[in-house]
Symmetry: C2
Subunit: 203 residues, 2 copies
């Protein structure tokens, strides 16, 4: 665990009476983080929520942390500056870590454009429990979809710092799973993901 | 849900494909937040972790958010000023909300000295799903235990702003459960808590 010096002092670690193994035994599954990354409009949230549904239908306990939704609550104080994006992803990683430790399959759906931030989130969970999924819908397709009209606003200069337009997206160099969604239905994408998780021994 | 205006804009809500009811059906339990509040040394963390163990032995899915442990990670950037204590509890409340929504019994163990902060955490979850538990060990007993030597340091002026010494503790006015621990073992306290949760229809 990466627990570099915190700001506050006078803290002691409590030995957990219950281990993750024991929690996983009760749940009958392994906790993990399924980290979806990709451009706005790539289909991350849609895939995440359909995947959650499919996992629940399989009797698994899963939960989606969704960028758009989390921003209203835990991360309400953060905007879209590079620093705020990094803090956003740091907090999401820490929450995902808690869910993983609780034995839950935690699916996160965030653009998470910076490689270093995704790598930091990976470091928060035990080896083999972080599954980076590149939702690799290309920019032209995302822009053509433009489900929230954001690309239009970004091209018109009404939104600044928009990923893919005037802010960078650093594609994963070695994602566990790369999903090409352009020629695939949401269901087919989720089925491919489930196969990938099975191949990794997580389902 | 209290979702007052966030700093960031260009956000849309995603309708969850899966409801909390459906997740709870898979888990066979109700998600809730068991919020332990009390002085340093009152026994919150010990009770929280033993309660988690007992719930797991009952086949329930539970998870402890622990003040001391969370501070190394999600809340590493926060200290013990009144503002930082409030932000600490705000974030814990938001994480507990997510666990509750996931169908998990989330046990939190934080001093959480300010009534307004605990009330804000209560507002984050649906009615009937927040159980405030006052671990009502009195100051003299906590100070006599002094498991981490912190009261000694606070009395010596080596720690400033220590709850109960030179910072306030606002006891709950209407906690769902009040635990007097001075004359009770940890196991007996947990059994009383489990009875209380059963009485509230949460177990």
């Amino acid at each position: 665990m990466s627990t570099s010096t915190p700001k506050s002092t006078n803290i002691t670690w409590h030995g957990a009476n219950v281990t993750r193994d024991e929690r996983e035994e009760v749940l009958g599954q392994k906790g993990c983080v399924v980290w979806l990354t990709g451009l706005s409009g790539s289909g991350k949230s849609t895939i995440a929520r359909r995947l959650e549904q499919k996992l629940l239908e399989m009797g698994r306990t899963a939960y989606v942390l969704d960028g758009d939704n989390l921003r209203f609550k835990l991360n309400k104080d953060l905007g879209f500056s590079p620093e705020d994006r990094t803090e956003n992803i740091r907090r999401v990683g820490r929450v995902a870590e808690l869910f993983c430790d609780a034995g839950v399959i935690c699916i996160t759906a965030f653009i998470s454009p910076y490689r270093v931030d995704r790598d930091a989130a990976r470091e928060m969970v035990p080896d083999g429990r972080f599954v980076e999924v590149h939702v690799a819908t290309d920019l032209a397709t995302c822009e053509a979809r433009d489900p929230k009209g954001l690309y239009g606003k970004a091209r018109a200069g009404e939104i600044k710092g928009f990923t893919g337009i005037d802010a960078p997206y650093e594609a994963p160099a070695a994602a566990e799973i790369t999903l090409s969604t352009a020629d695939r239905s949401v269901d087919a994408s989720c089925d491919a993901l489930i196969e990938g998780l099975q191949g990794l021994g997580l389902l």
